[in-house]
Point group: C2
Chain length 372, copies 2
Amino acid sequence: MILQRDSDYSDGTVLGSMCTEPHPVAAEAFVAGLHVNLGDPYLFPNAYRAERECIGWLAETLLDHPAPEEAEGSIVSGGTEANILAAYAAREVTGGREIIVPATRHFSFEKAARMLRMKLVEAPLRSDYTVDVDAVQDLISRDTALIVGIVGTTETGSVDDIEALSDVAEDHGVPLHVDAAFGGFTAPFLREEYPLPRFGFDLEAVVSVTVDPHKMGLVPPPAGGIVFRDDEFPKAIEVYAPYLSGGGASQYTITGTRPGAPVLALYANILELGEEGYRRIAFRCYEETLKVAEKARELGLELAVDPPHLNLVNIRLPDRGTAERLLRESEREGWKISVSTKPLGVRIVMMPHLDAETVSRFLELVARVLGG
Amino acid sequence: MILQRDSDYSDGTVLGSMCTEPHPVAAEAFVAGLHVNLGDPYLFPNAYRAERECIGWLAETLLDHPAPEEAEGSIVSGGTEANILAAYAAREVTGGREIIVPATRHFSFEKAARMLRMKLVEAPLRSDYTVDVDAVQDLISRDTALIVGIVGTTETGSVDDIEALSDVAEDHGVPLHVDAAFGGFTAPFLREEYPLPRFGFDLEAVVSVTVDPHKMGLVPPPAGGIVFRDDEFPKAIEVYAPYLSGGGASQYTITGTRPGAPVLALYANILELGEEGYRRIAFRCYEETLKVAEKARELGLELAVDPPHLNLVNIRLPDRGTAERLLRESEREGWKISVSTKPLGVRIVMMPHLDAETVSRFLELVARVLGG
């Protein structure tokens, strides 16, 4: 009732969100586990074990961990918590205070730096909106706690050269965190056919990866993911909860009470879709993205990153006035769009609820607004 | 399937959790809103408005806000996030670094202090496990950012004298945060008949209150609540998200993507139960608690706080060996118990899924174990 005028991904009008309709088996598992609290593993040992298995699957299947059983991780409240935990652990382990981030970094790193009293050092970009790795190297100092690389930036979907970043990080003995909140469920498959870098634990410097089940993992929110190479970094931020059922447990997540439903939903998707199902979804979304990119070119629109690295198309807008006109016209026609500021553009995130045909109608609107 | 050997609150064996079965209308609303992301209010304006109404209701009905429309707040991932936000905002507004907490403080304050590079200054307790207010006064320094008082401590359910704390805080110009994660939904009603302090925004020094819908609000997790007196404190920790649908928004929560389902669940409970329904639940749980306390006394067991301040009974255990024997015996009989360390005792949280008759059988086990 109260939702009647709110958005629904299924009608194909939500163009700028990295969330989508959950997979039906995920929704069903979520509902079955509404009461489960992973903050209290003694009460919910099977759900807790399901989480361990999910982390193992992420580490092995998506993140190329050479010894996935050593990976430590949690399904957390979102990519923001995951990135904060990575920064926090790096501060505690290294004693450093600076985080070198691409200028494309998500605002969660700003939250992290402010909360943690750390300093963001922004590295400049190349023309394809990936970080300039030479510049990153020049920014490393004795105070560097962490280097961050991104697999699927929020604004353009660009993928940093994580392999090169890992080499630089390794040379300087600095840990590397990969923010694959968006790309973690697609890049591992797409690189079988398209030029994308490796970004997992087979790269020596990678200590932690953010990968969000509630984005391309088709799990309802809240479901972020943080995977650490082993327990060294999480141990550094662990806090003891003295009173939990059975008599105490340690936690390194920000949250105490922690919903188990998202874990059960991910577990269900892994059983139902598995590697093959997620691969199919990744390719379908990316192929639709390429069609959208092609259509945009036909209409004379300029893509910020061309070809798109992942299933996100960012179409440049010339100025703020045009952006505002486009927002108004889109609202009138029922499109829910998202405008980016760096670069100024309209983001189209080709989630599973969208297809190229639907989005092409929106592109025609963009062309009209830009033409007129 | 995977849950088959996990706990279920409905069988009455979970004695030590502050979570419970959600109310059926809350579960239904939660499920209807599984896809809703409050991190993107442009997409979900009605859910966002529902959250504003929930915060207004909490401020007015539970927290005695003299001008509830000025209250600012959010439904967050849990009491831990709520307490961290309160500490973070106080650090930013005051420039202070110390948080004066009762020795009974939840471990979320340890998480907050470590993350935020603040310092916990623990105030000693009186014999009833409430904080010694004179001691708090003596601990105030120029570096004090925040004083914390607790309405329903985790281990014994004790309620600090928030009115006296507010007087002290006001005298020294220090903000007061109230952690009513557990007691926020019950103390406002129980004090109509039992000696409990006021703890809301009618007390001058109170700047923020944690009150968790996923505890006595009967909402599925994740549903913590943070309510600020007005927008001064949250504004100090706000971060701008440049790309959200419609073109950007500010957030002060830790999380970016934020599930709307818990908000819709709380909204449904407020419509269904309202003040009267929550009052009824509070009294029922507390009356069962008093019966449990009476039964414990009959059996010669000693309560850490007697009479209990809220719906939590802590029965003292003489030593670690007895605690371990009790854990083993409880497990054998199917009880899921929780042992506290300060004081050493067994916590029985009289949530709506428990009644005195069921718990009395457990008390007999405790008496047997303590008897030898």
